[in-house]
Subunit: 493 residues, 2 copies
Amino acid sequence: MFEEAESDPTLTAAEADRHEARLRTALLKAQYARLQDPKRSLLIVAAGIDGAGKGATINLLNEWMDPRHIRTLAFGLPTVTEAARPDLWRYWNALPANGRTGIVFGSWYMPLVMEGAQKHPNAEKMAELAEEVLRFEATLAANGVQILKLWFHLSKDAQHQRVDRLLKDPDTAWQVTTQDRKVRKHYDQIRAAGMDIINQTHTRHAPWVIIPSADERMRTVRTGEAVLSAISRASAPRVDRPLRIVSRRAKPSDRLAGLDYAAHIEKDEYDTELRQWQARLARAVRHKRFKDLSLVLAFEGQDAAGKGGAIRRVTHALDARRYVITPVSAPTAEELSYPYLWRFWRKVPALGDIAIFDRSWYGRVLAERVEGYAAPADWKRAYDEINDFERQLTDQGVVLLKFWLAVTKDEQLRRFRDREQSPFKQFKITPDDWRNRRKWNAYADAANEMFARTDTPNAPWHVLSANDKRHARVSVLAQTVLALEAALKKKKD
Amino acid sequence: MFEEAESDPTLTAAEADRHEARLRTALLKAQYARLQDPKRSLLIVAAGIDGAGKGATINLLNEWMDPRHIRTLAFGLPTVTEAARPDLWRYWNALPANGRTGIVFGSWYMPLVMEGAQKHPNAEKMAELAEEVLRFEATLAANGVQILKLWFHLSKDAQHQRVDRLLKDPDTAWQVTTQDRKVRKHYDQIRAAGMDIINQTHTRHAPWVIIPSADERMRTVRTGEAVLSAISRASAPRVDRPLRIVSRRAKPSDRLAGLDYAAHIEKDEYDTELRQWQARLARAVRHKRFKDLSLVLAFEGQDAAGKGGAIRRVTHALDARRYVITPVSAPTAEELSYPYLWRFWRKVPALGDIAIFDRSWYGRVLAERVEGYAAPADWKRAYDEINDFERQLTDQGVVLLKFWLAVTKDEQLRRFRDREQSPFKQFKITPDDWRNRRKWNAYADAANEMFARTDTPNAPWHVLSANDKRHARVSVLAQTVLALEAALKKKKD
């Protein structure tokens, strides 16, 4: 696949000038047209042999196009902030908004390149890393991110000559990084790694394009062509390797109907239990090993099921500096211009911290499904996307619990009426609540299917009767404490 | 001032219930009314004697009001990310948008409290820290942030009793932090510190309210009253201690007219100089001591003066992972809902990093002044606000250079026409450019006044003739390199 690039093809100055004039005009035009597209962004990954001049080429792209709408996203070794979160967190955070273009250096291919450039790469590890990359790119592509990957390549001789030329002059020697010198020694290994990576991760929705890079003019023109071709695409490519995390189950069981709604706790017992569980929670999150974990609680349930009250009983035992509550409602205009999970990735806590979601990413398969805001293909795909998101969190050390607080239809009605009577609870009841109530069965079906598809061992659903608020609050605390204590014990072993 | 609070007043349950019903309704109403105010936010600072229950009270406020529009902002010791920036950076970053409310724990008063609680507080240092706080609050208040500061207070006996009661029961002992235990020992010192701080920082636009905290009901009701009174204010309080950083100078000189616009560099000399300065810049930013500095370059100048080209000659020598270029144009709707400097504070680089601004915070006293987007009081005040902002940067180790690239009116016309002819430069010329050109003299006057008021020793203006692009580019590089090398040398000494 590197034959052409390793023949080190060149362009004459006259040829390059002709191409440049055409490319610059076309790129600008395409960029402006694309800015009007509210549904798609473009992500360009710059990779390849070091010392092939990819930095200079990307600078030139910024010069040719309108740089105000391009963001160069450069990543090095993870910072402290980045290292305290899942590997892909920093890339999610840096995604360009729809209409915009991002150019990524030091992308999610770095672990693959580093492993592949070892003297004896571990094939199993390579395949695992490639699988992670494929899942990430499939999720992005299915959610409006077009991906173009450039591999800058040149022959061994040309690479050596370029580096030697730069090194000879003290005024250009700084352009050769330590990395470049290393690559110069290990050209063959990096070349082999590149071939393996490209083979494993070339997809229709995230294709690799090899850029012959020995000749500056050729490198520039071919980069311009590749970007022009991508940015001019009228529609998103079909995702040809979709995520597939959980196998589809048979008809989901009716977990909501199976609950014991009579479960309740007396006031005296409640006071004691609450205090004891809160004390255990307080000790668990102040445990020295908790700094290697973090805690994410997602609360879902029917309207008026008592999510807010349950959350306050949890936060009562927490240090205000260590937790953030995120109330989730309809996405803002800004949030709509990113892939669905973007706004939740941004809220992933660092190790040692706690994030509580009052409603969550499950909105995709609940309200967005029932109300028709998400197309069927989108919410059906979301089960796998969500499972993959949660797996990345728990792999990183997040203790993740998902609560469904369930009330019966009668109990909800009682609480709605109660809210309407109270001058300071009125704001909690809106026409939306009554509207949702009329779709009670559709919401219940969506919830039951959600439990069936996303109740994973690493991120289990706790479906609790909340007809008695005391029972629900104590259950939430108890489940959280037990999961945390188990995780702390596991960290020790 | 603490007499009433130290009498530990109480409320009966019946009294408290009556107040609560009234307060909850009024607070909610006021909060919703305030959400409609696009010009003001509310920042509540929670401080006072530890162990006085301020955390519990703030939780209650969240319960009484609509918590979706309140953000609790809790700060501890600075994180690595925070420590690499000026002290106030994290508070700027966390400001609530207009219409919203933020509650701050661990505020900008922490350094004052810590110094004040020493056995022998340094009065001079206290005064200096207080001055910094006053400047910050005056800037916020003048830019639409209403500030309410709560000091939770109780008598020594009541504090000891409360802590003892909590400590006695293993299930409540966790509520007593290490800090609380310390305060218990040092009650008298913290009390004295509080008195000093309140005296020095109580202003009309950012008043302190003392909350008697021994009795939970009294504490809650008084907090509710204070917040209600603040949130119901129909208009912003007058800022009664405005910033005053530079003395106003006499009529500014016409620095733009005084330039030598014939200055130029021949092509050959340019190539050599460019290469040499870029090499020196490359070495300076890769110097091991640069990690204790950072570099901020702000570019201003007439349209078509060549800012973009000059910036590219600088970034050519930089590592793409270490710099960010921020093109500054009219503020977005989101940016308009924060104080003016907020969007620039967000871009302050960490130590070791580089930020380049293509246009800058000087828009306030240039375009916003000339075009009338800012009221005269706003842009006149901005000189001091900007000087204070820049001082905070350079105090932290930022090497800050401000460039004005100056072209003559004829040269600008030539470049506009040239741009209109070129198919790939057309996007660089808009009706705005022609409109601004018609206000040439008004912009020149604004620029000259800006130089006079903001050319400080720590953040000097470099006003350069850019009629010859080569001359301007080499000058920018040379000034940057010399400033950096001097800063590196100073770090060593």
